[in-house]
Symmetry: C2
Subunit: 135 residues, 2 copies
């Protein structure tokens, strides 16, 4: 199977597949006589695993760990769980940041559209120091 097919089946671009190989996330496949990469279906599985991890917001380094843990069958389930929990905390923090941003933006956009001539509330907000609603 050539890289194009692998790309289609895994949903990763060919450049991304080569990139994952370069950083050691996907093993280098054998080559055909003319130098083309020759993949098997386990490579597609691995790429799907990576892609799915990315969808869940894991970094490539986290995914590297998860792949390692998935490899060694044994009692690594706790490690996986721990990694997922740490990651969830991370995501929740970013979520909080974004929610504060959105709330603040909604506030100023609301004031602006209803505002009367005068100064632009959004620009004023940017000029003023942080309000108490934020970190």
């Amino acid at each position: 199977m050539k890289i194009g097919e692998v790309a289609t089946r895994s949903g990763c671009h060919p450049e991304t597949v080569r990139y994952y190989e370069r950083i050691g996330l996907l093993p280098a496949p054998p080559r055909t006589a003319s130098g083309y990469r020759d993949y098997r279906s386990t490579d597609v599985d691995r790429l799907r695993f990576i892609s799915r991890g990315r969808d869940l917001g894991f970094s490539l380094e986290e995914i590297r760990s998860l792949l390692g843990l998935a490899e060694d069958d044994g009692l690594s389930c706790q490690d996986v769980d721990r990694l997922a929990r740490v990651h969830l905390v991370d995501i929740q923090a970013r979520l909080g940041d974004l929610q504060r941003m959105a709330a603040e933006l909604e506030r100023v956009i609301g004031s602006c559209s209803g505002g009367e001539r005068g100064q632009c509330v959004i620009l004023d907000t940017l000029r003023r120091p942080l309000t108490s609603t934020e970190k």
Copy 2:
């Protein structure tokens, strides 16, 4: 005022201040005889504006526009409002993505801790194609 003081007062690192100058977001200040940058307080204001914009999740390019709009006094309030609204939509999209991620992670973490021996639910989730709850 030297760069260190400007950095302290604006809350940006000196390297960041120089970076903003390099990309043309902050005008290059005059220099002292020995080549040190010599800022005035308007520069601190501008940096605070940028920093506040970053806190609200605007990109530096968006901030560049906002600075431009803030400069030319006139009827640019609508432009500011439009930019803010577009940005809010952006943020809300990212918010949705993160919420889906968090929900999915919570689901699998829950199953895992309560699960019985067998396979690790988290790794299984990563191996399986996307579920219907996701994009």
